[in-house]
Point group: C2
Chain length 391, copies 2
């Protein structure tokens, strides 16, 4: 059986200390239900992506269900670090495809700014690595992991800080046109290069921000989906993989092994041999600029060592080889951990339906989009292929 | 499609400060894989139940996968408070029934004693209620919630502290014969009545303990299950429901609404009209003695207000109306939050296969067992029906 996305919703991402987690989640749920044209009563299962730790509620799903009026519908919280949004989509799809529910809701929400600018958030994000050995014993913070990846990549292939900056400039360019983005202003290469170092060679503008926000998708079974909408967006495949948290267990720092594996699964199941000639666009997990460049290679958009050339030659703008992060990416749109995967799904669905404003709408020829969502430093990888065509 | 459990494993529950979370999880996984006769390489998906908070690792699944040699297999952490073990089983079943994997692993693990006897655990467990309003503002601890349920129940129906004590005595009796139980000693009514009050009218021996432990189940698709074992235990149905965390939103304190809903779903799907005449045994969520009595009523084993009479008349021992908690229950076996649901699954599978030691083995006539797993104070409820017969 196959599942389709029939509605999506998301909050405007940003700094939002006024709304509690259930309020953020409700805004996204409400928009997704309206978009799908279904009501709360139609929902049979809820998968709620949330990392928490920064939130007061330790068991957030019941609070969200209560606030959104979803009781007594059943569900579970799912967590795959920064890939929790994609994990929520996977759980909702499995609930529908297994026959447990006809219509399921995938929601991701995170409220992070309450801890921003405190040492607590550095520790919490540091736990996105290997907490015991690498954060506690060695002092590796989360940006430091990606700085190690960047340093290794630049040394191996000759990429420069300017090449990394090109990613930030592109993503801010698209963010400037996205009314849901946290940062809606263009930046220049000089802005990036002149920003302060966070973890050398990564500077402030190489990093995604701390964000509050929520995103949601309504998933329906084959039978229901075609009845409710003319443009169901089919979840053609999802690849799911894990890899060691511990850097000493990795082969090298030039590739995220879990992404290679998840992409292999997703491409095989979707019968995609040449991604660049099969996809209209991709949303990739640019938690740091270097992450987007490595993703180009791990996803097969470029050969090994060729990812930074795509950035340098501006091949991932609309009109280039393959448009990437037309919503501004995590960099400009914002990165509320567990909401990010579903926000990428939101953008992919809107793009495939051609509902995006001019300037940001990619040409839709193949009817397929890819979503790449990484948890931690590659602990988790989810690669999802959405399609206008029923598989 | 239908899924079957082909292997189970669990650690001996208890106080265990020597083993880290991945070590506990691995012990249960290893036993379950051996029991199923499959290897790590056969696993296609991992659902890991863990509440955490008391553990150092914020993203525990990758650490568990790394330690158990399960990388690059994909998965997600699932959480439904104290029902996380059942949620892990549900996710594993959905992964198999949706066709995502042929064989999936459901694991639950918790390491709680590192915080025992500190104020931190009172706060963490207090979050099992409604954190913001009821813990933070009103000071309700977790035992206090169930004390309110007990007080309301006793006032309404005339049940006594002795009736509650009967549950503890029964569960310790079975615990005394269970080599995996935390407490393997019998107790008397006097032991319970003379133990100190934790939250009046609940005394120390009315409460389940703080426990470290892990449990696991291997779930396989219809095709694979019948090929690998002569006694697949079919997951006939699962009911899943949520209810408001906030007590002020409840109709009354005499019933757990989410349990009634989850039982309704599970019975309907399994075509069970008279549970007592259809089930050989039940494992119910006795986090406190009163919880088991209310469960008798919510699950339809007794009429409203008649649950305590089942306890008084010892109808839930083997040989009575329906044996309940033949493994010692959470009370004597121990309650490592996210492992508890899967430990109940472990017991039900062993009972249905008639692999339990004499004295604890229930007669198997109907070939069906029920598992009742509650999260928080009824925020989540999972009711699972296992069967020897393919649905």
């Amino acid at each position: 059986m196959t599942a389709a996305i029939i509605g999506v919703g998301m909050t405007r991402f940003g700094r939002d200390l006024e709304h509690q987690l259930p309020e953020l989640a409700f805004k996204a749920i409400d928009e997704a239900l309206r978009d799908a044209g279904v009501s709360k009563e139609d929902i049979g299962f809820i998968a709620f992506g949330n990392v928490g730790g920064w939130s007061g509620e330790f068991f957030p799903l019941p609070i969200v269900c209560e606030y959104a009026g979803l009781n007594p519908r059943g569900g579970m919280r799912v967590e795959a670090a920064c890939a929790s949004g994609s994990a929520a989509l996977a759980a909702a799809c499995m609930a529908v495809e297994s026959g447990y529910a006809d219509i399921a809701l995938a929601v991701g929400a995170e409220r992070m700014n309450e801890l921003a600018s405190t040492p607590a958030i550095v520790e919490l994000l540091g736990r996105g690595g290997n907490f015991f050995w690498e954060f506690e014993m060695l002092g590796l913070t989360f940006p430091a992991y990606y700085a190690l990846f960047a340093r290794a990549y630049m040394d191996e292939y000759g990429a420069t800080e300017e090449d990394l900056a090109k990613i930030a400039v592109k993503n801010h360019y698209y963010g400037s046109m996205n009314p849901k983005a946290q940062f809606q202003k263009k930046i220049t290469i000089e802005d990036v290069l002149n920003s302060r170092y966070v973890a050398w060679p990564l500077k402030l503008y190489d990093c995604s921000p701390i964000t509050d926000g929520a995103a949601a998708a309504v998933v329906a079974s084959e039978r229901i989906a075609s009845r409710l909408t003319d443009t169901p967006i089919w979840v053609k495949s999802q690849g799911i993989a894990t890899a060691p948290a511990n850097l000493t267990m990795r082969r090298d720092l030039l590739s995220i092994e879990s992404v290679v594996e998840a992409a292999r699964q997703a491409y095989r199941k979707a019968r995609i041999e040449d991604p660049v000639r099969s996809l209209d666009l991709a949303l990739v997990h640019d938690c740091f600029t270097i992450a987007e460049i490595i993703a180009y290679e791990d996803l097969g958009f470029a050969r090994r060592g060729g990812g930074y050339l795509l950035a340098r030659e501006e091949q991932t703008y609309i009109g280039g080889l393959i448009p990437v992060n037309t919503d501004g990416g995590l960099k400009a749109k914002g990165h509320p951990i567990a909401a990010s995967g579903l926000a990428m799904i939101y953008e992919a669905v809107k793009q495939l339906r051609q509902e995006v404003d001019r300037g940001r709408q990619a040409p839709i020829k193949h009817g397929q989009a890819l979503i790449h969502n990484v948890g931690g430093t590659g602990h988790f990888a989810y690669v999802t292929i959405l399609s206008l065509e029923k598989p």
